[in-house]
């Protein structure tokens, strides 16, 4: 075995230029896939953490069953009463994975500046709970401030946040007063004075002229109810989202609560669409790298077979079997794959170090400030890439190597 390894190594070194070019091609492909993979990992993590922590949506949201469909037309039957909320909260907080629960009530109505009015859609939440959710974020997300102005307060019920488009439309600056009007759950018209405390950019461009953030108490007052329409649940570990969702659903049903539990991923179509888009781009990139690596290896092995035809004949004459000849070239190819992968690993680490040192910034969609651009090192990607490239190198070499092994010994010995 060692002899064949020696022959393989030395032959790679004998054709140094060709070997180096193949190794570089594989290495660059490896680095491209992993640097892009690391970038998409950063994007996905940022989007995920942005939705869960920065926007205060938590990992799980519990609704009355049917709220997301029939509930949009008639809210009354799909609200969680104060008693139901208490039971729900007690059950959910009994799970050690749960860090925090907070109720919300989403409302809609008309907002007026005294002269003109327009539609609004508002999330009524507990400001202190949302601040606590924000504080659980790691890294850059935890430092994000998604609004200008001052944070909403539990005690100051009438301080609200407006999306930038809505504020522009009604010409409401920070500190301005407005009137929020909405039908109560019993169908009466209600109106309350509000004060603009903050402005923010909506996550979805189309809603940037409609969204508001209001304290839960204001939302309940406007709707004249003590009920809420959802319970937001923050977990200690994002990885526990799916397993806990199943357990939670079962437990809540056992307590006689007719509710459904949705994960953050199910409630964030933006995340899903962006992820799908990047996955497709990644697939294209991967395919291109795959083609380049395959062609490089085929070229190298085919050239090696052609140049060493007489050597193949000699080895066969000395008693090496066909499989042994295949094994020899496959071994050389595997070494190219391995060396290329190691080079790629080095280039990936170098890229990561470069970005980590230079700390470039960028302004991503929905955020108005510069944030650091990062590349994540994903061990699973690195290991899988290496394994895949080595296997690809082996598989690609088999065809030319088999052809070499099945040549007539006499013809190969007579090859010039």
């Amino acid at each position: 075995m060692f002899t064949w390894l020696k022959i393989a190594c030395r032959n790679l070194g004998k054709n140094r230029r060709r070997s180096i070019f193949t190794i570089i091609a594989i290495g660059l492909g490896f680095a491209a896939v992993n640097v892009f993979g690391g970038f998409t990992s950063y994007i996905f993590a940022s989007l995920r953490d942005g939705y869960i922590y920065a926007q205060g949506n938590g990992h799980l949201t519990i609704f009355k069953t049917g709220f997301l469909t029939a509930g949009k037309l008639d809210l009354r039957d799909y609200l969680l009463s104060a008693a139901e909320l208490r039971t729900l909260t007690d059950v959910v907080r009994g799970f050690p994975d749960v860090l925090l629960t907070t109720p919300q009530l989403h409302i809609s109505g008309l907002l007026s500046n005294g002269e003109v009015s327009t539609i609004f859609m508002a999330a009524g939440h507990v400001p202190s709970d949302v601040r606590r959710i924000n504080s659980q974020a790691q890294g850059m997300i935890g430092q994000l401030r998604l609004f200008t102005g001052k944070p909403l307060e539990d005690d100051h019920v009438y301080g609200v946040g407006l999306s930038a488009g809505l504020a522009r439309q009604l010409q409401l600056d920070l500190g301005a007063n407005a009137i929020a009007m909405a039908p109560t759950i019993d169908g009466q018209i209600n109106a309350l004075d509000v004060e603009v405390w903050q402005r923010f950019e909506a996550a979805i461009e189309l809603l940037n002229d409609k969204l508001m953030l209001v304290p839960l108490t204001l939302a309940q007052a406007l709707y004249d109810t003590s009920s809420v329409d959802r319970l937001t649940v923050l977990l200690r570990d994002t990885a526990r989202t799916t397993p806990l969702r199943a357990t939670l659903t079962q437990t809540l049903r056992q307590h006689g609560l007719d509710v459904e539990v949705q994960t953050w991923e199910e409630l964030s179509p933006f995340y899903t669409k962006v992820k799908d888009m990047f996955d497709i781009i990644f697939l294209f990139l991967f395919f291109i790298v795959f083609i380049i690596a395959t062609m490089s290896i085929i070229n190298t092995v085919s050239m090696a077979v052609m140049e060493r035809t007489k050597e193949i004949g000699t080895l066969r004459a000395l008693g090496v079997k066909r499989l042994g000849i295949v094994g020899l070239f496959v071994m050389e190819s595997a070494m190219l794959g391995l060396l290329g992968s190691l080079l790629g690993l080095g280039l990936t680490l170098l890229s990561w170090l470069l970005v980590h040192t230079l700390q470039p910034t960028w302004v991503p969609p929905i955020i108005t400030q510069h944030i650091p651009l990062e590349i994540h090192l994903v061990p699973a990607y690195l290991v899988l890439s290496m394994g895949f490239l080595v296997v690809l190198s082996i598989m690609t070499a088999i065809i030319p190597a088999r052809r070499a092994a099945h040549q007539s010994i006499v013809d190969t010995l007579g090859h010039v």
Binding site: T3, I7, K310, L318, K321, V410
Partner: protein, 230 residues
């Protein structure tokens, strides 16, 4: 029982209009310990005959027996094993592996057999020393002269103590003096170990040194003579 026995062996290349008959109904027996030269003009079938006897090729018809065993229909793997254990080869162009040293080249047939490195190395060093190449063991083929390379090839051919050594025009790429030296060396080894040597040549000067000469012409044996070598 002869070591090699060919019965009505024919070998054709190509098909239909391009068919070339290299051997026509050849009958030949070679006993253990013989030192045989196959000679004749170019295209007479010398190399083809050596290839068939060395199990590098298969006959179109007829029977080839090696040590009493019919090798005509053996599988490729079995033929490879027989070549490794029973037959040594010396080629016109030496055919040493360029990336291996002289010592590693000689060890190669033993590694193919599965012998351990330490043992193979010891045997190979002894062989190379016997042939006066002790000082060149670590050198790669491109740093050896033609004569030295052919001696390494001879050491490689004999390392497995084969029954038969097949040499196809072993002196064609050597100067006259070196060619005679190589043939004398092969004759010496033949006498010392009793290994059967079969080589092809078209060089008349070498024929004086062999005890048996088989003349081929147009794919047929036209003369098979035994006499005292000088």
């Amino acid at each position: 029982m002869p070591l090699i026995a060919l019965e009505q062996v024919c070998k054709d290349y190509g098909a239909c209009e391009t068919r070339v008959t290299a051997l026509r109904g050849v009958d030949l027996t070679i006993d253990c310990g013989e030192f045989v030269a196959i000679w004749g003009p170019s295209g007479s079938g010398k190399s083809t005959l050596c290839n068939l006897i060395g199990l590098l090729d298969s006959a179109t018809s007829g029977t080839v027996r090696l040590d009493g065993q019919d090798v005509t229909a053996l599988s490729d793997n079995r033929r490879s094993e027989l070549r490794n254990r029973t037959i040594g080869f010396i080629f016109q162009s030496f055919n040493l592996i360029p990336v291996l040293s002289a010592l590693e080249n000689v060890m190669l047939p033993l590694h193919i057999q599965g012998e351990g490195t330490a043992q193979a190395k010891q045997k190979a060093m002894q062989r190379l020393s016997d042939l006066g190449l002790a000082a060149y063991m670590g050198r790669r083929p491109h740093k050896l002269s033609g004569g030295q390379q052919q001696r390494v090839a001879i050491a490689r051919a004999l390392i497995t103590d084969p029954r038969l050594v097949v040499a196809d025009e072993p002196t064609a790429n050597l100067d006259s003096d070196t060619a005679l030296t190589i043939i004398d060396l092969m004759r010496y080894l033949n006498k010392q170990s009793g290994t059967t040597f079969l080589f092809s040549t078209h060089d008349q000067r070498l024929l004086a040194r062999v005890s048996r000469r088989v003349l081929l012409r147009d794919g047929m044996i036209v003369e098979d003579t035994t006499h005292t070598a000088s």
